[in-house]
Structures are given as structure tokens and as C-alpha cells.
Symmetry: C2
């Protein structure tokens, strides 16, 4: 995905971006993905199709950009007072969100984009959330694994099972979290 | 992906399938994915577009079907005489194939399909390969983890890093394999 530098907030460019994102989200709520076209989005957003092509490349890249914004976490991981519980609560919520129908559609939009900026951005969101749990654990004097090990041992198997339509029950999430915490002690 | 029962080998239906698959693979070698259409494939395969729509649903489902066939392993995992080495050799080859440009395109085609049959089929190929390594280990009297634990601990992190364009160096693959083998002892 070719993504230009973030626009100046409140500027013309930021207003165009917000309007195109809103139009895309509205259309995704009303139509099947296969029915949506760049001209439809442009008309609803009050811009020309060429504005969209110039800025986002193609429809796939625009959908990925909208999905990444949607996948950006809007809250910090819950603070339960204990690292393993923090990680479990976060992992359960993550699995819930990603396995929901809109979560799966957004994941697929991000992965289908021609470039990898969106996918890397999503990974950064996740890494930041886990790093926050790790810092909190450190401030309490608790042991906590390296965030990369949590990505490998907890996040990856959850996403793999969602993407490949394999069963993912709450016991498995619990097991993944216990295993990574135990390995680290 | 709506996929009908496998056709009788050599029958008319099997010949149509083979011809459409070959035409699709040829066109994928010549054109950008975004330029390929169902009528182009139909014309090259000598069938009507409606034959393709009836049998595969849409272009995405046909591309996924072709990708699944391509992702089907054509050899057994190498027998190195020792379980950990077998698993490492298999994991390295898997990571190589999936991170190659055609591997990544096929993965994305499978994941982009409207249904999940193709994705599950790919997961079955992988599970079968690991089960074979596990059986071989058992016949030598070696300890080996449950194949599901290998999917979680080795396959998932490899695929996650490929899909999300994160770094995946040979040391990490080695580490994932050692960790799962050590955990099991």
C-alpha cells in the first residue's frame, strides 16, 4: 500500500481523507464488498475518482487503509493488577475482535493490499499493546516474556486459527498464555 | 469457496477442471492478477464463462482453488534420521516456499476467497506433513510434541511473520523448533 505522509490535521488533505474514509465505511455497511467501486466512493465523499486513485492507488489499497484505521486499538489493555491476567484478558479480547465478521473482513482487506505498509502497521499496534503490558509488569516487579515471544507464542496462533478457519476455543487461548508465561519463569 | 465433489478422474468434468486450472496458471504467469478476468480464462481453456461461474463461483474462488492445488506438497518431509532435524528441515523449506513471491501470492489468494474450504485444505496439508514427522519420530522411539502444538508454536509464527511482512531469519525458525522440542521433553 502506498501511503503518503499523514496530512496536517484540519487541513484540506485531512478533510479529504476523513470524507473518503467515512464514505467507504458507510458503503461497506450498505453493500457487498464486490459491488463497491471507486466512483461510488468518490461520489459519496464529494471528491473526484482521480483524487482517490492519486492518493490511495487502487480500491484494494483504500480498503486496506480504512481497515488499518479501524484495527487501531482505541483503549489500553485492561489493568487487572497481574501480568498473566492482563495478557489473558488482552488475548481474549483480541481473539474476539479478530474472529468477528467485521474483524475478519478487515484482516483480509489489510492482507490483500498490494503493499505491506498496512500489515506492518497492524503488527505495530499489537506490539505496542503487548509492550505496554510488559512495562506494567516490570513496574510491578513481575517477570514477563519478551514481546516478540508473545507475538510468536500467543498472537500468531490466534491469528493463524482465525485466518485458516481452524477451531479456537477459550481453553486454547488460556493454554497459549499459560505456556508463554511458564516458559519465561 | 464452493467446491463440488472431486470429479471422476479422466471424465469430462476432470478434463474441464484441468483445462481451466492450466489456463489460469498460464495467465497468472503472463499478466498482472488485476488484469485477469473470467472470460479471458474461459477463452484460453476453451469453455464458456458460465461453466466457470457455475463450477467455481467467482474469479476469487477459482484463484483460491488453483492456489490450493499448487500449495499441496508433492513430497514427504525429508527423513534426516532424527525428529528435531526433520522438523527443522521441514520448517525451513516451508518458510522458504511461503515467503517466495509466488508463495505469498498463493497464500493471499487462498485467504481472500469467500469461503474457508481452501484455507482449511491448506491447513490439512500442513497438519498431515507434521503428523508424518511425528509418526516417524514415534517409530524411532523419539519424543515428539502433539502436531497441534507444532502448528501453534512453529507454523503459526512463521506464517504470521510472512503475512505481516515482519522479519523472519533462519535463527528464529531454529529457535521456534528448539523451543517446541524442549517444551515437550
Amino acid at each position: 500500500m502506498v501511503r503518503r505522509q499523514g496530512p496536517r490535521p484540519g487541513g484540506r488533505s485531512a478533510r479529504v481523507q476523513a470524507s473518503v474514509h467515512t464514505a467507504t465505511r458507510d458503503l461497506l455497511g450498505q453493500f457487498d464488498r464486490a459491488e463497491i467501486t471507486v466512483p461510488m466512493i468518490a461520489s459519496k465523499a464529494g471528491v473526484t475518482p482521480s483524487t482517490i486513485y492519486r492518493r490511495w492507488g487502487d480500491l484494494g489499497d483504500l480498503l486496506a487503509d480504512v481497515a488499518v484505521e479501524h484495527l487501531r486499538p482505541d483503549t489500553e489493555p485492561a489493568d487487572t493488577g497481574e501480568a498473566q491476567r492482563d495478557l489473558l484478558a488482552w488475548a481474549e479480547q483480541y481473539a474476539d475482535e479478530m474472529s468477528s465478521a467485521p474483524g475478519q473482513e478487515m484482516l483480509r482487506d489489510v492482507l490483500a493490499a498490494s503493499g505491506s505498509t498496512g500489515a506492518q502497521q497492524c503488527c505495530t499496534f499489537t506490539r505496542d499493546q503487548i509492550t505496554l503490558i510488559a512495562r506494567r509488569a516490570a513496574s510491578r516487579g513481575e517477570a514477563f516474556p519478551d514481546p516478540e515471544a508473545v507475538i510468536d507464542g500467543v498472537v500468531s496462533p490466534i491469528l493463524f486459527r482465525i485466518l485458516f478457519a481452524e477451531s479456537l476455543d477459550p481453553e486454547r487461548i488460556q493454554e497459549l498464555v499459560s505456556r508463554i508465561m511458564k516458559d519465561h519463569r
